[in-house]
């Protein structure tokens, strides 16, 4: 078949991811992990991995199973791998978390669970990387190149993570120990900067220009952005490994990576402004307006990073910097796009088969943007307030901010469930003859 069909398990990925996000927010509201404990404490490791693997990576994988076939106009290499991958990722993350809790003394020290978790996660991500990689490879143009770079970064992230897990269990020898001692920034850069950020950038190019009726970004421009980003990650990973090998410290590598990362952000900003200014559609949809707030958060993250480095305070405020990047930029963008993707896929699944044969609603009839926008605004305002409270060392106010984020998220998830249930569609066109109401958690394709 040519073209793209509806990905069967994308909704399952989104639901799992949102469940993990609720877990992370609940932990933060309860005062678990940073800022109550140190950034490198086992409790913070639990929190970071719930957010980065459970929420962001799982949501990104679910979106890519749908999006990569659209990019290359070819079916997914194997639809059958998506559900086993999700199971492996969930089991792997659970094992890893129990291992971390053991590391921190909250559970018995079953440290062997860490390498087991790592192996399960590598198996899950491996299925995702091979499946998406073989699909994207068919037409590696524009955004698909960002996805391929993101998948390569995911492999690097997983490799570092696995070494750490084996080292924590005492199974990785002295080399493993020295990687664990110094390599954590490389793991974080490859994961947040390479896998999550480069992939989100690539996906956003196409989604933004599609929803705003804007011409695609000139390939020379987007290639330059990608080259800067891929170089930043390449320098961090390769240079970092060399630096660890020669025990020469990571300062030089991290400085070059920071400059390249800043350049990537600036080039991406230029590309996004180009898409916005070249748009034919004047009235922006909610998902685009909210994506703009995530771009503002990315710009804010870059600005905060520069100021902190110049004032020599980066290490002291690393938590606030990472919080803004993770919840303002990445989570904000994923939530905004998830809101639109769910509406579109639900519409296509329900009404595609009867379109042209019976009156059908429009995609925007499945959502209530006026109602949803206030939840998004609450979410973003809470994220920015939380960032400021982390900087001001106000842990109680920070927990209140996260509670406010949770309220915003509950509102957004409620809207998404209503969309999936066709709750806002007026009844004459809600289910025309031949149309079938969608299942909440998977698609009948």
């Amino acid at each position: 078949m040519i073209g793209a069909s509806i990905s069967r398990w994308t909704m399952s990925y989104f639901a799992t991811a949102l469940a993990w996000l609720f877990v992370a927010l609940a932990l933060m509201v309860a005062g678990f992990g940073y800022p109550a404990t140190h950034l490198a404490s086992p409790d913070t490791l639990v929190l970071v991995h719930v957010v980065c693997i459970g929420w962001l990576s799982v949501a990104m994988c679910g979106a890519l199973f749908q999006f990569v076939p659209v990019l290359v106009a070819k079916p997914l290499f194997s639809e059958k791998w998506a559900l086993p991958a999700l199971s492996l990722l969930t089991a792997g993350l659970a094992a890893l978390l129990v291992g971390f809790l053991g590391l921190g003394g909250r559970l018995p020290a079953w440290l062997w669970l860490l390498p087991i978790g790592a192996v399960l996660l590598i198996a899950g991500f491996g299925l995702v990387v091979v499946d998406l990689g073989l699909t994207a490879w068919l037409r590696p143009v524009g955004p698909a190149r960002f996805v391929l770079a993101g998948l390569a970064s995911l492999c690097a992230t997983a490799a570092f993570g696995a070494i750490f897990a084996f080292a924590d269990a005492g199974w990785a020898g002295s080399i493993g120990q020295s990687v664990l001692t110094t390599g954590v920034p490389l793991h974080a850069i490859a994961g947040l900067g390479g896998w999550l950020t480069l992939t989100a950038m690539g996906v956003s190019y196409r989604l933004l220009s599609m929803f705003m009726l804007s011409p695609d970004v000139d390939e020379r421009k987007s290639n330059m952005t990608l080259a800067a980003g891929a170089l930043a990650i390449g320098v961090a990973v390769v240079g970092g490994v060399v630096a660890i090998w020669f025990v020469s410290g990571l300062n030089v590598v991290l400085s070059i990576t920071a400059v390249l990362g800043l350049a990537t952000t600036a080039l991406y900003g230029r590309d996004v402004i180009g898409i916005f200014s070249g748009r034919k559609r004047r009235q922006l949809e909610l998902n685009t307006r909210m994506a703009a707030l995530s771009f503002a958060s990315l710009a804010g993250t870059a600005l905060v990073g520069v100021v902190l480095v110049l004032t020599g305070a980066f290490a002291a405020y690393l938590g606030a910097f990472a919080f803004l990047a993770i919840f303002g930029w990445l989570s904000g963008l994923v939530l905004a796009k998830l809101y639109k993707i769910v509406a579109f896929l639900t519409w296509l699944e329900t009404y595609g088969p009867v379109m042209g044969r019976a009156p059908t609603p429009r995609v925007q009839d499945l959502v209530s943007e006026a109602r949803a926008s206030k939840w998004f605004v609450i979410y973003y305002a809470a994220v920015w307030f939380g960032t400021l409270m982390l900087m001001a060392s106000q842990p109680s106010a920070f927990r209140a901010a996260v509670a406010m984020m949770t309220v915003g998220l509950i509102g957004i998830v409620r809207e998404v469930i209503r969309t999936r249930r066709l709750a806002d569609v007026a009844s004459p066109v809600r289910l025309p003859d031949g149309a079938c109401a969608p299942h909440l958690l998977f698609a009948r394709n």
Binding site: M1, I2, G3, A4, S5, P69, V70, A73, R139, V141, M210, F211, L213, P215, K280, R281, F344, W347, L348, G352, P353, M355, G356, R357, T360, R362, V363
Partner: protein, 167 residues
């Protein structure tokens, strides 16, 4: 910019000859990336499908006295067609409906094409201009037994789609 080789088959056609072998011979001489500028005494619709199969998109322009100039440009993106073979495209009639869906918000182009396609009589075709390759439309067309042929214009800004109703 694409470099074109001129192929003028008007003398052959006026003399009642068969220009196909001349055009194919010209194709064999092309350098990678080169296109063909064809002059003919009629709009060579059957040739479009043959050239599409070889990876060329066309843009036809009427000249005086019923003559046509057609630019065949190597497609940057390979042309795609419904997977039922290309020989069957030779007898496609001129479109009964023409849609310009380029400035519609997604997914309105798909909605309009499906609505128009359902109204076609057996064997009739419709043509549509779009901004993007309608990847979600193709499975719907296939399920309903429609055949289709599509590709980007040489500048990459417009996707031209022809859909034929089952006969």
């Amino acid at each position: 910019m694409t470099d074109y080789i001129d192929v003028d088959v008007r003398p052959i056609l006026r003399a009642g000859g068969e220009p196909f072998s001349v055009i194919m011979a010209a194709l064999d001489r092309l350098e990678p990336g080169q296109g063909v500028r064809l002059y003919a005494t009629f709009k060579p619709i059957p040739l479009f499908a043959v050239m599409a199969d070889r990876g060329f998109v066309h843009s036809a322009q009427a000249l005086d006295a019923g003559e046509w100039e057609v630019l065949f440009t190597p497609a940057t993106t390979k042309q795609t067609a419904s997977p039922s073979g290309t020989a069957v495209f030779d007898d496609w009639p001129e479109p009964a409906v023409t849609l310009d869906n380029r400035d519609l918000d997604p997914p309105e182009p798909m909605v309009r094409i499906l609505a128009a396609a359902e109204k076609l009589r057996p064997g009739e075709t419709l043509s549509a201009l779009l901004r993007r390759e309608p990847v979600f439309l193709f499975p719907q067309l296939e399920k309903r037994g429609f055949r289709w042929l599509g590709g980007f214009s040489p500048d990459g800004a417009t996707y031209e789609l022809t859909v034929r109703a089952p006969s």
